[in-house]
């Protein structure tokens, strides 16, 4: 958790989250992530900690290609006016804190 990132006006935000939702980054949480990425004014990318290139979070095909399972860590990379907001929202979804 890197919650020291409270500069809510930052244009570039990075945060590592542990995927806590059942079944990993899959089905409903993945769809919600894509939806949140599209709803915010910024570019959000996701990268598995193990390496690989980051992929755009607004593409379900790209998110599915990550194959992130429950308990794995991923890095969120946001760039744009709503970078902080999107990272907060997506982190809540992926850790299981988002009731939707």
């Amino acid at each position: 958790m890197t919650d020291h990132l409270d500069a809510s006006d930052a244009r570039t935000v990075e945060r590592v989250v542990v995927v806590g939702v059942d079944g990993g980054l899959h089905a409903r949480p993945a769809a919600r992530l894509v939806e949140q990425a599209r709803a915010h004014d910024c570019e959000l990318r996701v990268r598995p900690i193990a390496g690989d290139e980051p992929v755009p979070a607004d593409s379900m095909l790209a998110v599915t290609s990550l194959g992130v399972g429950a308990g794995e860590r991923i890095r969120l990379l946001a760039d744009g006016p709503e970078a902080y907001a999107v990272v907060q929202a997506v982190a809540a979804t992926l850790t299981g804190g988002d009731p939707e």
Binding site: L61, T64, S65, G67
Partner: protein, 154 residues
């Protein structure tokens, strides 16, 4: 595992589980067609159970993932081994994704199997490549399409 017939990709995809230029329309009918093709491999013990598992998963969230691709899938003990079916439909179908899908894949994996996410992610990674999608759209025979799939998910 030097024998080509025992690599994961070759067991997973066989030409019997591929149909091209299908006139089928509508999400429900497409899923039924995919399950029928998976069944043609002889690896589905109970087609009804498999179908129900896929529909249950469909109800959880869209499997249309963009770029004309849909990836319906389920973990179910109605299959003895991981099985992939592929249909290229003549007219793209709404699978709840950002666009309608004409490249439809069905992945069925036994409950106890943990390859589910990894096969799905390998397939998705391959399909991010427009060249792979094009090869599947223009494949002239199920054998050709099955070969492309074996190449990318093996």
């Amino acid at each position: 595992m030097t024998d080509g017939t025992t690599t994961p990709g070759s067991g997973l995809v066989s030409p019997e589980a591929v149909a091209l230029d299908e006139p089928v329309t509508g999400r429900r009918d497409c899923v039924e067609r995919l399950v029928e093709l998976a069944d043609a491999t002889g690896r589905v013990d109970d087609r009804e159970v498999a179908l129900r598992a896929v529909f249950d998963r469909e109800a959880e969230g869209p499997t249309g993932v963009g770029e004309g691709v849909a990836l319906p899938h389920a973990r179910t003990d109605a299959v003895a081994a991981p099985t992939l079916a592929f249909v290229h439909v003549r007219e793209a179908v709404d699978f709840g994704g950002p666009d309608d899908a004409d490249l439809l894949f069905l992945l069925l994996v036994p409950e106890s199997d943990d390859v589910h996410l990894s096969v799905l992610s390998r397939l998705a990674r391959a399909l991010l490549d427009g060249g792979v999608r094009e090869r599947l759209r223009t494949a002239e025979t199920p054998a050709v399409a099955a070969r492309v799939l074996r190449e990318v998910v093996a």
